[in-house]
């Protein structure tokens, strides 16, 4: 075997071995880099969204009539039935199981306040009264994962266009409601895509302009703006909220330990009155 032959064969062999390595071993794992001092400083350039944000209930109610979702025929029939049931004193119990109100219902029909936190690469929304209300919106430039696990609040990425946070959310459980009240709503049934433009419309008024694409239940994208107003009084700070807490009452066990004891509720979500 002459040297010239080896000079050709060895690089070819080496190349073929390299090509045979699993692809993933060649990729560098993605890390979330530690924020720099500049990252923290840059947060100060963002608009001020601190404080307690409470939904504008009167506008939620008004939009039930003025801006209903473009339901398809099947969904519209179910909504009509829900209206009739509620009017008859049997409100459909959409949210009585303490699962998250989830996206997009949390933004659409919440009756509870929230706060919004900025940290480098992320905006976090934390809701009250229901400890599992939490949205993580990644603003670090990442894309959606190729095949994200479906969740109640979906996978959200965002970027700033001036003072407007633009959010794109996918991978939401098909079971989550597109709701227009706590008694009228239809599961999105899959393939839902939500975009939002969130901005201060006034110094203490936040607008969330949603576009909801839900081809299984809507005939076209539905645009709606939800309004939140700000409070800064310390006494109205967000408090802990554990939805299942109301399912129990303080009690004690046979050893005198303080315990939570279950109490019965009716199908509508109220404690059953004593007989």
């Amino acid at each position: 075997m002459n040297n010239r032959f080896l000079a050709i064969i060895f690089p070819l062999l080496a190349l073929s071995v390299l090509c045979m390595r699993p692809v993933h071993a060649a990729e560098k794992p993605v890390i979330n880099p530690p924020p720099t001092a500049k990252d923290w400083t840059d947060l100060g350039k963002l608009p001020d969204w601190s404080g307690v944000w409470t939904h504008k209930r009167s506008d939620q109610n008004a939009q039930m009539k003025t801006n209903p979702p473009p339901w398809n025929a099947k969904a519209a029939a179910q909504i009509e039935f829900q209206y009739a049931e509620e009017k008859a004193g049997r409100p459909p119990p959409l949210f009585v199981n303490c699962l998250p109100e989830a996206m997009p219902a949390w933004m659409l029909v919440t009756h509870n306040a929230m706060e919004i936190l900025f940290t480098p690469g992320r905006v976090t929304m934390l809701g009250e009264s229901d400890g599992n209300r939490l949205r993580r919106i990644y603003t670090d430039g990442r894309p959606h994962p190729p095949d994200p696990d479906p969740t109640f609040h979906g996978h959200s990425i965002g970027h700033w266009e001036g003072d407007t946070l633009v959010v794109d959310t996918v991978a939401i459980h098909p079971q989550t409601y597109i709701a227009i009240s706590e008694a009228q709503g239809i599961p999105n049934n899959g393939d839902m895509h939500i975009t939002e433009r969130i901005r201060l419309a006034e110094p203490d008024v936040l607008h969330d302009e949603l576009t909801i694409i839900a081809p299984k239940v809507l005939t076209k994208p539905w645009k709606t703006t939800r309004i939140f107003f700000r409070q800064r009084l310390r006494r109205v700070d967000i408090v802990e909220g554990v939805c299942l807490e109301g399912y129990f009452a303080p009690g004690s066990d046979k050893d005198g330990n303080a315990t939570f004891v279950p109490i019965p509720h009716d199908v509508g979500g109220n404690r059953i009155p004593p007989k």
Binding site: S129, D266, N270, I272
Partner: protein
């Protein structure tokens, strides 16, 4: 023990023993209450459940003079919402307080309702429980 108090004790015992699964209280419409038929209950507060997502107040009382006193339960919104509506705190209404309650009764006729307003007889202090009171009423 008065019969109604015995019922309360039985209810409490049942509460502590209940292990079956019930739908949990959560976020829901309130048309199971007849909002057009406000009823007044006078009595004494037995328990206050200052809990999310709905606060409840248990009152041992009557809807009209001459009735046999009985235990009622009144549902409200969340602690956070009540605080923001104004005047409320965990101790604003306490067991033992003599109260009058305006409430929308459950349509099924059982002794429950949605609390609209509660007045402490000894102090004359009244508290509303309307979630809509939050809107724009509390500003710096």
């Amino acid at each position: 023990m008065q019969p109604s108090l015995r019922r309360f004790a039985v209810y409490s015992a049942f509460s502590s023993l209940a292990t079956v699964t019930y739908p949990a209280t959560a976020h829901h419409s309130t048309t199971m209450f007849d909002h057009a038929a406000v009823v007044s209950i006078a009595g004494t507060v037995k328990e206050v459940h200052w809990t999310n997502p709905h606060v409840a107040i248990f009152v041992y009382g009557v809807s009209k003079e001459g009735d046999e006193p009985a235990l009622w339960v009144f549902e409200m919104t969340s602690p956070g919402n009540l605080v923001r509506a104004g005047g409320w705190s965990r101790t604003a209404v306490k067991p033992g307080d003599k109260v009058t309650v305006s409430m929308a009764p459950l349509r099924d006729g059982s002794r429950g309702g949605a609390l609209k307003k509660i007045t402490m007889v000894d102090t004359g202090v009244s508290l509303n429980a309307d979630i809509r009171d939050q809107e724009g009423t509390i500003k710096e």
